[in-house]
Amino acid sequence: MPSPAIETEALTKVFRSRAFPSGALREVRAVNALSIQVPAGETFGLLGPNGAGKTTFVKMLLSSVHPTSGRARLFGRDARLPESRRPVGYLPENHRFPTYFTGAGMLDFYASLSGLPAPLRRARIPELLSRVGLDGWGNIRIGKYSKGMLQRLGLAQALIHSPALLILDEPSDGVDPVGRRHIREILSELERNGVTVLLNSHLLAEVELFCRRVAILRKGSVALEGEVKALTAGKGYRLTASDIPDNLRAHLASAASAVSARNGLVSFQFPGRPEVNSAVDSLRAAGCEIDSLIPTTSTLEDVFVQTIEGNPAHS
């Protein structure tokens, strides 16, 4: 059985600092005993509010932050070893590429650090620039690039050595909708080719569209983990009706998870089949018109908000 692309065991990071002038020790537990396994070839989304520990977790995978305890492995190798990072491509959030580079020069530098020999670099650089839509920009200093172009160049940098694991921190940040779609197409192609992708993004719709599995972090721990399809499917029914007497409306509202009214129509969101069947019976008995009944799936955003706000259904 092949080793997972990412495997962490009780990975923990506690940032310690001393308060001035009291000298009191302050501790922030950024990541708390996080155990995650991402099989090779999977597309995995890492979600969480600001300060949830996503970036610290990624940095521990890449050894720019040292874990306080626990361990991380990349394709079965200890993540602290430089060699374990050879099959990894990384696009950090808020990257700052040196502006003295041209696009091609920058790709050449990072490809060299990944150990790519010169002939291969010469072949890959124009190919990748074209792939991310930066044809003709290779010899231009990156100080002249727009934010979206820098993001595309960053993606090219992460792909230059044909990584088996791609870790992307907000890859669509600053990219226009067309560019975003383009990036998504590239990622889908990589997925088809068996590349493991760890996507850390605030754009939940993007994660929902692309990732097969997600983990939602809250205060450094996994609050929810599962397949996107399972998390967002079969979550309830929306029943819309008119001419509902007030007492019945109040009764139905007590069983519904949400109620909204518009143009004389009232919509009830029921969490399950028994509740909606009972509501249909009540409405028909009262002679009300049923306008529509549709099964609803919750979006990843719903799941995210419910998880972060502590809805017991998801915690």
């Binding site: 940095k59 890449l62 374990s84 808020n94 590429f97 040196p98 060299s112 650090l113 790519l116 870790i167």
Partner: protein
């Protein structure tokens, strides 16, 4: 160590030094000095031993050729030791904090290159930038004067390794300050303070008479032993140029020890730190 990565780190430091006009600034200054000796200062050898010197076409009289050449070499060596060294430290101070900037260091560390490799790569690249300029200036002046006077005293060439050595020692301090505080200003101030302190600490005989207590004398000796002996190395180089007796051994190994400790401390901090 991956040689492709090493070459990339060295090239990157050169590229950044050029982009920051560090390389070109030092190169321009060296070129100006060379051009000065090449075109402005004219030497006509008279009967092999004496020479008439003219500056901007104005003749300044005759002088002993050997003394003249050694005098000029001494001037270039002192220039390199004082202004050259200060400019090199000043220009290099930002190169270490630059790679530690958020958004840049994470990407560097995500590559299959160890932290020691990254820091030493930048350090070596920085030393190479100054080496290129020192070799260009010293060899340029030596060749020009050799061609003009037919004298090729080898002592002047010692300026190359000694200048590079002293810079490498000071650069270790720059790197340590850079990784500790990520401050360009402090990275300049501390090595410059060492440069200023060195000639003062070297006045051991005078200071032993002036200092009244034994503990202050001990402190003085300890500081003199521990800190880099920039002044002593400079004096020995000048003596070598003037064909006088000189000894590099003690100042060289104690300064090397200081530089090695600074570099090891910088590596220890860099290896431990979270970015």
């Amino acid at each position: 160590m991956n040689p492709t990565a090493t070459a990339a780190l060295l090239r990157d430091t050169f590229r950044e030094a050029m982009a920051r006009k560090i390389f070109w600034g030092l190169f321009g200054l060296s070129t100006l000095l060379i051009l000065f000796f090449l075109f402005v200062l004219k030497i006509d050898i008279v009967e092999g031993a004496t020479a008439t010197i003219s500056l901007f076409g104005k003749t300044g009289g005759t002088a002993d050729v050997d003394r003249l050449v050694r005098g000029v070499y001494g001037f270039v060596a002192v220039f390199l030791y004082t202004w050259g060294m200060f400019l090199a430290v000043f220009a290099s101070a930002g190169l270490t904090p630059a790679i530690l900037e958020p958004g840049r260091i994470e990407l560097l560390l995500s590559k299959p290159v160890g932290r020691t490799h990254i820091l030493l790569g930048r350090y070596a690249g920085n030393v190479l930038v100054v080496t290129a300029n020192t070799v260009f200036l010293v060899l340029g002046v030596w060749i020009i004067f050799g061609l003009k006077t037919h004298l090729w005293p080898p002592g002047f060439l010692l300026t190359i390794p000694i200048t590079i050595f002293v810079f490498a020692v000071l650069l270790a301090v720059v790197v340590l300050v850079g990784v500790l505080w990520e401050s360009t200003a402090l990275s300049v101030m501390i090595p410059v303070a060492l440069m200023i302190l060195s000639p003062i600490l070297a006045q051991e005989r005078i200071m032993m008479k002036l200092l009244s207590s034994e503990w202050s004398r001990r402190l003085w000796r300890a500081l003199y032993f521990a800190l880099p002996k920039i002044f002593d190395l400079g004096t020995s180089t000048l003596n070598a140029i003037r064909d006088r007796s000189y000894s590099f051994f003690d100042p060289l190994w104690t300064s090397a020890l200081f530089g090695a400790v600074m570099l090891a401390a910088a590596l220890a901090v860099f290896l431990k730190r979270d970015y």
